[in-house]
Symmetry: C2
Subunit: 219 residues, 2 copies
C-alpha cells in the first residue's frame, strides 16, 4: 500500500488543510514533520506522481480525493487506537498520542473494523476529536472555545485544541476531564481570563492561554 512516510505526509497535509490553511506550503509541512523544506519538495513530487495530491511549483499543494481518503483512514486508525489505549489499557490521555502514531500505520482493514467493533463504535477519541467513519465521513462537532462561550450557560467540557502532553497534564492536575460541567461566572476583559463554577460549588480560574484550548458545548 503506502509507506509509513507517505501516510504521515498525507495526514499532515490533511490536518493543515482542516485547520483552515488555504494553500499548504512546503515550510509548514516541514515544520510539522520535523524535516527540511527540500525533503518536502521531493516527497510532494512523488505523491503528485501517484495522484495523491495536486501540485504546482511554488503554488503549494492540495490533496486529491484519493489522497484525502488515505489521510482520513490514517486519522481513523489513529483515533481508534487512542480509544483502545485509553479505554482498555488505561493509559492517560496525555500518553496515547505517541503510541497511536505508530499503531496508525498497521495495515489491515479487517483489524480496523474489528477494533472498531470491540470498542463499541466510538464516535470520539480521548481528546474529544471525532472518529471518521469507515467510509470517510467525519461528523463535525459543534464545539466552541471556552474563551468564546457566554456566561451562565451550562457548558460541557468536550475536547481540547492543544494535544501536547504538558497541556493535558495541566488539565489532569485541575481535574478537568471530558464531560466536566461548568458555568462561566466571570470573563475578565483585561487579560481574557475566565472564572467558572463546577458542580459542588468548586470554582476554577483559567488564563486566556488555557481557555482558548478548551472546547465546550452548550448543554
Amino acid at each position: 500500500m503506502y509507506s509509513y512516510t507517505e501516510e504521515n505526509y498525507l495526514k499532515t497535509i490533511y490536518k493543515l488543510s482542516e485547520q483552515g490553511n488555504e494553500s499548504i506550503n512546503t515550510n509548514s509541512i516541514a515544520e510539522v514533520l520535523q524535516t527540511k523544506a527540500a525533503s518536502v519538495t521531493d516527497m510532494i513530487k512523488k505523491l503528485a506522481d501517484k495522484k495523491l495530491l495536486n501540485y504546482e511549483k511554488y503554488k503549494g499543494v492540495a490533496l486529491t480525493e484519493r489522497g484525502r481518503k488515505v489521510a482520513i483512514d490514517t486519522v481513523r486508525k489513529h483515533r481508534l487506537w487512542e480509544c483502545f489505549l485509553y479505554d482498555k489499557l488505561k493509559f492517560g490521555w496525555d500518553e496515547v498520542h505517541e503510541i497511536a502514531e505508530q499503531l496508525e500505520h498497521i495495515n489491515s482493514e479487517l483489524l480496523t473494523d474489528k477494533l472498531d467493533e470491540f470498542l463499541d463504535f466510538p464516535t470520539h477519541d480521548p481528546h474529544g476529536d471525532p472518529i471518521p467513519s469507515k467510509n470517510g465521513v467525519i461528523k463535525k462537532s459543534n464545539f466552541i472555545l471556552l474563551c468564546d462561550a457566554k456566561p451562565n450557560q451550562i457548558l460541557v467540557m468536550s475536547g481540547v485544541s492543544d494535544h501536547t502532553a504538558v497541556f493535558l497534564q495541566h488539565l489532569n492536575k485541575i481535574s478537568m476531564v471530558l464531560g466536566t460541567e461548568m458555568q462561566i461566572t466571570e470573563k475578565n476583559d483585561y487579560d481574557g481570563s475566565i472564572a467558572v463554577k463546577l458542580s459542588g460549588n468548586k470554582s476554577l480560574y483559567f488564563s486566556k492561554d488555557v481557555a482558548k484550548n478548551i472546547l465546550v458545548k452548550v448543554k
Copy 2:
C-alpha cells in the same frame, strides 16, 4: 532503538537456532526472510558491528546475549498481540500471524506490559507457543508430537508445529482446537497414519503429515 528489519533478522536467527540448527548459515536466513544471501551478509555485518551477534566469515552466526534479548522481546510482543487478536477481537488462529508480524514492531515497553496485564498474563499464544516473560524467560513446554505418542493415554491437543494458514484451516475443518482430548486407538506402521477417539465416541484419522504437526501433552 532497532529497525523493523533488524528485529526481523534477529528474530529469524533466534528461531533457527531454537530449531536446533547448530550454525546458522546465510542461505537459511535468506530463505526465511525471502531475500538473497548477499543481502543477508550485508545485514549480518551491521548486526555484528552493533554487537547483536557474533560473526566470522564463512562460519555462520550466533546471537550475543543482547541480540537474544531483542529477539525474545520481539517474539514476546508477537505472541501477546496474537492473544489479543484471538481472544479479544475474535480473529481465527489462522489469521493472527500476519497482523502480529506488523504489531510486534511497535516500540513501547509500557504498552507491552499493559497489554500483558489486559490479557491477564497469558502463558501461551493461540497456537500453543509459550510467551516469554518480561525478563526473557521461556517456560519450555513438555509437548510431544502426536505421531510419537503412545496408544491408550489421554492426550490433550496443545499446539502445532506447522503455523501455516492452510494447515490451521484444515484443523478448523475437523474441529481440532487447543484443548481437544483424545486417545490413540490405532497406529498404522505402513503409512504412519493414526486413528484417535474423541469424547462422544467420535473418531478421527490423521495422516502422518498431519500427525507430525500436532503437539499434545499427556493428561
